[in-house]
């Protein structure tokens, strides 16, 4: 009845076994390719990192911007891009959570966990695919910025440092998203993260408005918000207006260091937690 015999003949030549590191690298590559294939097939899934920042830039530059007065002098259009970079890269985190919750709930992650593959690979691959989309997002933000009159007034090294910090910051937020993906049970709940967590995080910061205009009790919160640190660091490194420079608060006085500390801190907390939950989680 069946001609199945061919498919179970041991085929030792075509399998391979390497040390754990080679295994990890090859699994990460396979799974990263999977995420990229998905994007190529359905580019509209990139809307949150491509179209959204454009809308925000145009809205703030031409709608709200006129009503926002920067302490000191300077162009709001130049001020805007440093903040947008932080928001654009951090706000990919809810998408990561949605993707992981979906993989968990469809049983795909169960399949991965039953395969002889590296334990870390699923999460690390997701974070790398996300880093690639964040790079696209950064390029789009810079291009739209240039179109609305944003300019850099420093050198190549400073600009490169600004983008490197922004990507480090975005990568750290990806792991916050990964952790949420392990904690939450439904893609719908993960979808809400954008509004419940990331929107307030962005707006209670110097990303779009100087913190000087906020009520006294809110100012420390905004100044210690990692989003403010990234905005200040970018503005500083681009040579853009940076009113935060006059605020006597450690993170905004040392924005580059603050971004590194915040990012390292988030990675150190959320990456191991997410991996531990991934290993233990029984859906």
């Amino acid at each position: 009845m069946s001609t199945a015999t061919v498919w179970l003949v041991p085929d030792q030549d075509s399998t391979y076994s390497h040390g754990p590191f080679r295994l990890f690298v090859s699994d990460v590559l396979v799974l990263t390719k999977r995420s990229i294939a998905r994007i190529r097939r359905e580019p509209e899934t990139l809307a949150d990192v491509t179209v959204m920042p454009v809308i925000f830039i145009l809205m703030f530059a031409y709608v709200f911007g006129g009503a926002i007065r920067l302490p000191g002098s300077g162009s709001y259009h130049e001020y805007l891009i440093g903040g947008m970079l932080g928001m654009g890269l951090a706000q990919t985190a809810p998408g990561v959570a949605v993707a992981l919750v979906t993989d968990m709930s469809t049983g795909l992650v169960d399949r991965f966990r039953s395969l002889p593959m590296s334990r870390w690979a699923v999460l690390v691959a997701r974070s790398i695919a996300e880093l690639l989309t964040q790079m696209i997002s950064a390029v789009i933000i810079a291009c739209v910025g240039l179109a609305i009159g944003w300019r850099v007034h420093t050198n190549v090294a400073d600009v490169a440092a600004a983008f490197a910090l922004a990507l480090l910051f975005g990568y750290a937020f990806t792991w916050v998203g990964v952790w949420f993906g392990m904690v939450l049970r439904s893609p719908e709940a993960a979808q809400q993260l954008g509004f419940i967590v990331f929107l307030p995080l962005t707006f209670i910061s110097s990303a779009f408005v100087p913190t000087q205009g906020m009520p006294g009790w809110l100012q420390p919160v905004a100044n210690w918000n990692p989003m403010s640190a990234l905005a200040a660091a970018s503005r500083h490194l681009f040579g853009n207006p940076n009113p935060a420079a006059t605020v006597p608060s450690w993170p905004v006085q040392h924005p580059e260091l603050a971004v590194i500390f915040w990012s390292a801190g988030m990675l150190a907390i959320f990456a191991p937690l997410a991996v531990a939950m991934y290993r233990r989680r029984a859906a």
Partner: protein
């Protein structure tokens, strides 16, 4: 036999809060057989499979697959197993072929080998034409086939099939059965969970009936049937007949509990067959005002085994709609 079993469980316990999903499950599955794990929803079948597939740590007890402990030697276990769960565990946005190649590579095949084998399996499972379409365009039956293909790509020696035909139409179901028989003929050890008694009867060489996280009976389908023994009268009532009245009328003639089927129009009445019994039954039903379409004598089926062992049908009432 002498040969060590392919799958072994020894006193497995897994507790979720106050519910014991597994309450001391013992199992021994000989290599190269199709073994059926039969039980209603919530009996612990899926939990057991998840323990064997290294997805879940048991609270107590131990399990081994081909001699490797599922907890302490999990990587070795993962190299020899394949798992097909209740949901098609696939990437919806990738094509069927990309899914297989991806799982193949993650199962430690080289790219070339993964591609070759993906094409073999696509052809074998009649998916070649759909191979370049994203999985989200597939029908339920096609997804299941692709899912099974994915679990075979690494040539597992032990395959777990968790309710492989739940929700499939009869054609797709028949195709899955064919595939399972083909795999068994190749010498793969298959552990198949099902809540369909006919499926276990058709496919499995041995069956363990589980309920409330424990094995309550074990043996070949024939052994299980003869352990219940006795003959049955299968009474088919006319549409719209009063089932309660029919059961009441037949009760004095039955040798045990009368089991109605899911639709309620067929009653399975345990009896000792003797001359005149059929006539008596028809008269009793007639006297109760119940019309009958058919009355036949039947040997025990696995349905009867299940009913006799658990006191309830194979499909829990709340699950019928699911």
């Amino acid at each position: 036999m002498g040969e060590s079993p392919a799958i072994e469980a020894d006193g497995l316990v897994k507790q979720y809060g106050k519910t014991k999903a597994l309450a001391g499950l013992d199992l021994s599955v000989p290599a190269g057989t199709v073994y059926g794990l039969l039980g209603p929803n919530g009996a612990g079948k899926t939990t057991a499979v998840r323990v064997f597939a290294t997805l879940l740590r048991p609270d107590q007890g131990r399990a081994r697959v081909l001699g490797d402990d599922v907890v302490t030697q999990a990587p070795a276990v993962r190299r020899s197993i394949g798992l097909t769960g209740q949901y098609a565990a696939l990437d919806e946005y990738l094509t069927g072929r990309s899914n297989l190649v991806m799982i193949g590579q993650l199962s430690r095949l080289t790219v070339t080998a993964a591609r070759r084998r993906a094409d073999e399996l696509l052809e074998r499972f009649e998916l070649t034409e759909a191979a370049t379409r994203p999985v989200k365009t597939y029908s339920g039956g096609m997804r299941r086939r692709l899912d099974l293909a994915a679990s075979l790509i690494g040539r597992p020696r032990v395959l777990f099939l968790d309710e492989p035909t739940t929700g499939l139409d009869p054609n797709a179901r028949a195709m899955m059965w064919d595939i399972v028989r083909g795999l068994a003929a190749d010498g793969t050890t298959l552990l198949l969970t099902t809540q369909y008694l006919d499926e276990a009867d058709q496919l499995a060489g041995r069956i363990a009936v589980i309920d409330d996280g424990q094995v309550i009976a074990e043996g070949t389908p024939d052994e299980l049937k003869s352990s219940v023994g006795g003959e049955h009268m299968e009474v088919t009532l006319a549409a719209g007949a009063d089932v309660e009245a029919a059961m009441a009328a037949l009760k004095p003639l039955a040798q045990g509990a009368i089991a109605p089927d899911e639709g309620g129009l067929q009653l399975s009445v345990p009896v000792v067959v003797r001359a005149g019994l059929t006539t008596e039954m028809v008269r009793a039903l007639d006297g109760a005002g119940v019309s009958v379409t058919d009355v036949v004598v039947r040997r025990a089926s696995l349905d009867d085994v299940f009913f006799a062992l658990t006191g309830h049908g194979a499909v829990a009432e709340s699950e019928v709609a699911a």
